[in-house]
């Protein structure tokens, strides 16, 4: 009897915290369907009287969220592909191949895990300007790759070190060279840690604002966080379309979360322990 009341109490507490965590998001979603008069005059937790999908179409077309969305998707996909490929090649070389400067390279990469990206911002701006890359997609893709490589290399090398070498040896005996055995044998075995790295990089790049705000000067190349920020300045009075734009930009994350929440937990804990 005592135990059940205690458990009910704990459930109630947990539900209360869940409401605190979810209510702002609930408000965001219902606001995305309301118009200003309903938001200002209406009850905060009420559902919209009329579901205004027009907010979404307004955000998508007039506020150019479609463009920002496409920019974010392309920047994220290119960065992801390059980081996964380059980081796994580097991790393989650093754990399996034999050469002198192994330790030095790992140490230099460690700096990339420790030093905040803010410290690279001013010189990067100059470098990109001199290379004529400002106002191009590459101006953020290249720094994004550089920033995310170290953590990728560390997560993948940790996995590779614990992986037995027998399969690679078998591949060598069958006549595979290093390159072939890397692509045919090692990469497929790296799938689980690659998924963790992929999630980590996806969120980091999809959500990045500082570098985008500094290096992207062309309006048509803005990514979602940057576009939303601007949008909120222009639409400071109508909250409905902005809320709709925010809902749209969170949908891919929500989708990734629903599909890979276990993997996401793993990649966050692994990432935290590295940092």
């Amino acid at each position: 009897m005592l135990k059940t009341t205690k458990n009910t109490g704990i459930y109630l507490l947990m539900i209360l915290i869940a409401v605190l965590q979810l209510f702002p998001l609930y408000w965001l979603v219902v606001s995305a369907f309301k118009d200003n008069s309903e938001i200002i005059g209406g009850v905060v937790w009420a559902l919209p009287t009329e579901w205004r999908f027009s907010n979404f179409s307004e955000a998508w077309v007039s506020a150019k969220v479609n463009q920002y969305f496409f920019n974010s998707v392309s920047v994220t996909l290119i960065t992801l592909f390059c980081v996964l490929l380059l980081a796994s090649m580097m991790a393989y070389a650093l754990t399996r191949m034999r050469f002198k400067y192994n330790g030095l390279i790992l140490f230099i990469l460690l700096m990339g895990v420790m030093v905040p990206i803010h410290a690279t911002l001013i010189p990067l701006f100059m470098i990109l300007k001199n290379l004529g890359l400002l106002s191009s997609r590459l101006s953020i893709i290249l720094p994004y790759i550089a920033v995310n490589l170290p953590i990728g290399v560390y997560m993948l090398s940790a996995f590779l070190r614990s992986m037995p070498k027998e399969l690679e040896e078998a591949a060598f005996i069958d006549g595979c060279g290093v390159v072939k055995s890397f692509f045919k044998v090692v990469l497929p075995l790296l799938k689980p840690p690659l998924a963790s790295v992929a999630i980590f990089v996806f969120l980091a790049v999809w959500n990045e604002l500082l570098m985008a705000a500094t290096f992207i000067q062309k309006e048509t190349l803005r990514t979602l966080p940057l576009g939303l920020m601007n949008f909120s300045g222009q639409y400071s009075i109508s909250w409905g379309p902005l809320a709709a734009a925010m809902v749209i930009s969170t949908l891919p994350i929500l989708l990734a979360y629903v599909l890979f929440s276990d993997q996401m937990e793993k990649s966050f804990t692994a990432g935290a322990i590295l940092k």
Binding site: F99, A146, L149, V178, L210, P225, L226, L242, T250, E265
Partner: protein, 294 residues
């Protein structure tokens, strides 16, 4: 195989592409920041070497610098003494063997994966004096006199931003601590039960000591995140009103890209790096004790 794996050309093939990108777009810029910090430079005209002038200005003349340092301390203290205990409480809650705990864990964690820009824009609206949910809720609760422009007032702006970061990241520490708690063997609790340690006693004498490594990681992470804060203040207040929410990273950004003081901005960046590295190192030293074995 050994010979193939020490082939210089192959090693270069695997390492050089990634390493080049890393060096040019991350490592070299770090060194350049240090170099810029000794110059006076507007980014266009030639640089002028000014020695430690930028640092002297930072520590003596620039009043809003100390405001930014103080705000970092506020973020840091909130992270360690408010957010971390809350996260630990949540981690204990979701570690209980009960139905639906995975659901709760997912809900508590979800805000973490949302971008700081999004979360900040959302809370700007929540705090908004006209359309905001907070004032409306206060009025509904007959506390209308409490309603105000939360982010626009020097008295409430910093606190309002701190509440948002706590709301945003409380699930992050929870998840790390939860993973740590899962790693503690059931045996300890069973042994403790025989000695009469259940409930809070078990937490105090088993969970906390065995979690000390994970707690240390969380403390270091929270401190570093606090020192690096940029996006939330940039989006919510832009440092204002009257520098009441300004941070080092934001000042660096404003000095360099709004006022064209690239040298001074770089000095601020160097300060930030050293601050992060030194504090992380000190915390690691101070918090590392003899490993606990039972």
């Amino acid at each position: 195989m050994e010979r193939a794996l020490s082939d210089k050309k192959l090693i270069a093939l695997f390492l050089v592409p990634g390493l080049t990108v890393f060096l040019i777009f991350y490592f070299v810029p770090i060194l350049m920041t240090a170099y810029y910090s000794f110059q006076e430079w507007d980014g266009i005209n030639p640089m002028a070497f000014v020695g430690l002038d930028n640092y002297t200005k930072m520590f003596t003349a620039d009043k809003s610098f100390w405001k930014a340092v103080w705000n970092s301390v506020a973020f840091l203290l909130t992270g360690v003494f408010v957010q971390l205990p809350l996260s630990f409480g949540l981690a204990l809650l979701v570690s209980r063997k009960m139905k639906g705990r995975k659901w709760f864990r997912n809900i508590y964690f979800f805000p973490v994966v949302m971008s700081t820009t999004m979360v900040s824009l959302l809370w700007v609206k929540i705090y908004d004096p006209n359309i905001g949910m907070l004032n409306t809720l206060l009025e509904a609760a007959h506390l209308g006199s409490w309603a105000q422009a939360w982010l626009g007032d020097t008295k409430t702006a910093l606190l309002s931003v701190l509440i948002v970061t706590t709301w945003h990241y409380v699930g992050y520490n929870m998840l790390i601590l939860f993973a740590g708690i899962q790693g503690i063997s059931e045996q300890y609790y069973e042994a403790a039960k025989l000695d009469g340690a259940v409930g809070w006693k078990a937490v105090r004498y088993i969970t906390l000591p065995l979690l000390s490594d994970v707690l240390r990681i969380c403390v270091v992470l929270n401190v570093i995140y606090a020192l690096k804060t940029f996006e939330s203040v940039y989006v919510m207040t832009n440092g204002g009103p009257l520098h009441s929410t300004t941070m080092i990273a934001l000042k660096m950004f404003q000095e360099a890209f709004l006022k064209q003081n690239f040298g001074y901005g770089s000095a601020l960046a160097v300060f930030m790096v050293l601050e992060c590295l030194i504090i992380a190192w000190v915390l690691n030293k101070v918090l590392t004790r003899e490993k606990i074995e039972y």
